[in-house]
């Protein structure tokens, strides 16, 4: 459902971000993007979200080349992709419930739908009791669970997570990965950029390793360091 064809992105002064990337990701897959900072993981994510356009190459999503997508159609693309960030990006002035409802409101869901869906998702991430708390009152892992709930609330086909466990201790990270696994089991494609060796090694999923903007390894059931 997702295919990169010889995608390259150069920033100014011929600085290479990614070079000649070709890869296919099937529906329902769980893929890790690994590599050092600056290897090109974030650039790939930005390309997929059409935050930036490639210098050359094509990116197909469900058969359509998104590099040719008009700007005003970008929101439609993004509604099919959920995003989770390392720094959670919750709105501090809204409660947990409101943060999640907000994502539904801005895509125009009805009040009735919102009242039905938000509690369901909250219980899936185990935060039903914190619905009325503000982000400041939550621990890091709880914040990330809110962010995950927000990313799935509009039922996207793909979830992209950029270093989702980067700010969390191992135990909490493990909890978060359980939730991602659960979401993936329900059919949602998951693409996760990470530095977290322990998690990658433990999950035994497909691993795509980037170095200096190129794919140097793409292995099923792989490990972080390629063993």
């Amino acid at each position: 459902m997702l295919e990169f064809m010889e995608v390259s992105k150069f920033y100014k002064k011929q600085q290479v971000a990614v070079k000649n990337i070709s890869m296919k990701i099937k529906k329902g897959e769980f893929v890790f993007l690994v590599g050092k900072s600056g290897a090109g993981k974030t650039t790939l994510i930005k390309l997929l979200l059409k935050e930036i356009n490639p210098t050359s190459g094509k990116i197909y999503y469900d058969g359509n080349d998104i590099t040719k997508l008009k700007n005003r159609r970008v929101p439609e693309l993004r509604r099919r992709i959920g995003v989770v960030f390392q720094d959670f990006r919750l709105l501090p002035k809204m409660t947990v419930y409101e943060n999640i409802a907000f994502a539904m409101e801005i895509v125009g869901s009805s009040a009735k739908n919102i009242r039905r869906e938000v509690p369901t998702v909250l219980s899936m991430v185990g935060l039903s009791s914190k619905a009325n708390n503000y982000p400041d009152e939550l621990a890091g892992g709880e914040k990330q669970r809110v962010a995950i709930a927000r990313s799935v609330i509009n039922k996207p086909q793909i979830i992209i997570a950029d270093e989702p466990t980067g700010n969390l201790d191992p135990e909490t990270s493990h909890e978060i990965m359980k939730i991602f696994t659960e979401i993936n089991k329900r059919g949602t494609t998951l693409i996760m950029a990470t530095h977290d060796r322990a998690i990658v090694d433990q999950m035994k999923k497909r691993v795509i390793e980037l170095k200096k903007g190129s794919i140097i390894r793409d292995s099923e059931g792989g490990y972080y360091n390629g063993l």
Partner: protein
């Protein structure tokens, strides 16, 4: 767009105005200031044009004032002479009594002032209309030399001066107005920029979740629009009040003589309101559009 969305956009817009109140006040002030200056220039240009128009109508004639106590024959002889000149279109004779009546009529309420005059100081006169302005010089030189002619008056210079002044004011006014408009668009766009910055996380999120561009832009557009609208209301109040008072002042100080030429305040109210609101809203929306384009990259 649903009610909920509209409510969200409005709420965000007013929150933006309130959060950056200092800049909001500055924006409103700059819009108001620009519009006040624009209004004053507009009114000055309007009045000069009006004066030019009236003067043109009134003075596009050659006045031949005759000496006092001329014999009837002399007067009619002068008339015949003038009629026989090349380039003369029509000649009308105006007695001093008629001239006084006309003056009384023009002065309206202030005509009482003329009652005190015992002797009619106005002369008998011929009023010449020309076929073309080009003949003016020739006709004037000849008529001036007739015996019995006291003075020949032609206001060509005055008219030309008025026309060129009015043209100059229009051009200079337009340049000043354009510069001021650009400045206030810049100030508004900076205010909106602050709101955009203070809501950066929220906006990014909205974009990631797939909010439509209109939905993301909405609050900022409304914010700019409201700032422009408030600014234009203030400017309307200031300009109309000032003009009203200026008109009263001119009436009091210079009597009806001048106020005939002043465009009546009641005539301009509707136009000023329409022009100001349009420009105010325009500046506001343009200002926010500039900052949205620049900082939201959508």
């Amino acid at each position: 767009m649903g009610f909920k969305k509209a409510k969200y956009i409005l709420k965000q817009a007013f929150q933006g105005i309130w959060r950056n109140r200092m800049m909001s006040v500055a924006s409103i002030g700059s819009v108001a200031a620009v519009l006040v200056i624009l209004g004053l220039i507009l009114l000055i240009v309007l009045n000069i044009s009006n004066i030019t128009l009236i003067t043109k109508e009134k003075f596009d004639e050659i006045y031949v004032f005759l000496e006092e106590d001329l014999e009837e024959e002399v007067i009619s002889h002068i008339g015949k002479e003038i009629r026989s000149l090349d380039g003369v279109f029509s000649v009308a004779y105006e007695t001093k009594e008629y001239a006084l009546e006309k003056m009384k009529e023009e002065w309206g309420e202030d005509a009482d002032l003329l009652e005190g005059i015992d002797n009619n100081p106005l002369p008998n006169s011929y009023i010449i209309r020309l076929k073309s302005v080009d003949n003016a010089e020739e006709v004037i030189v000849k008529v001036e030399n007739y015996t019995g002619v006291e003075e020949v008056r032609y206001y060509k210079d005055v008219i030309e001066k008025l026309v060129s002044t009015s043209d100059f004011m229009r051009t200079a006014g337009s340049v000043i107005i354009i510069i001021l408009l650009l400045i206030s668009i810049f100030i508004i766009s900076n205010t909106i920029k602050l709101t955009v910055a203070s809501r950066k996380t929220e906006i990014e999120l909205m974009q990631y979740v797939g909010a439509s561009n209109g939905f993301v832009r909405g609050p900022f557009m409304i914010e700019g629009l409201v700032l422009g609208l408030i600014g234009s209301f203030i400017a309307i109040l200031i300009v109309l009040n000032t003009y009203d008072q200026a008109a009263v002042y001119i009436n009091d100080k210079f009597s009806v003589m001048l106020s005939v030429y002043i465009v009546k305040p009641t005539v301009i109210v509707k136009d000023i309101v329409i022009i100001f609101i349009t420009i105010g809203v325009g500046i506001g929306s343009l200002g926010s559009l500039v900052s949205i384009k620049k900082f939201l990259s959508i």
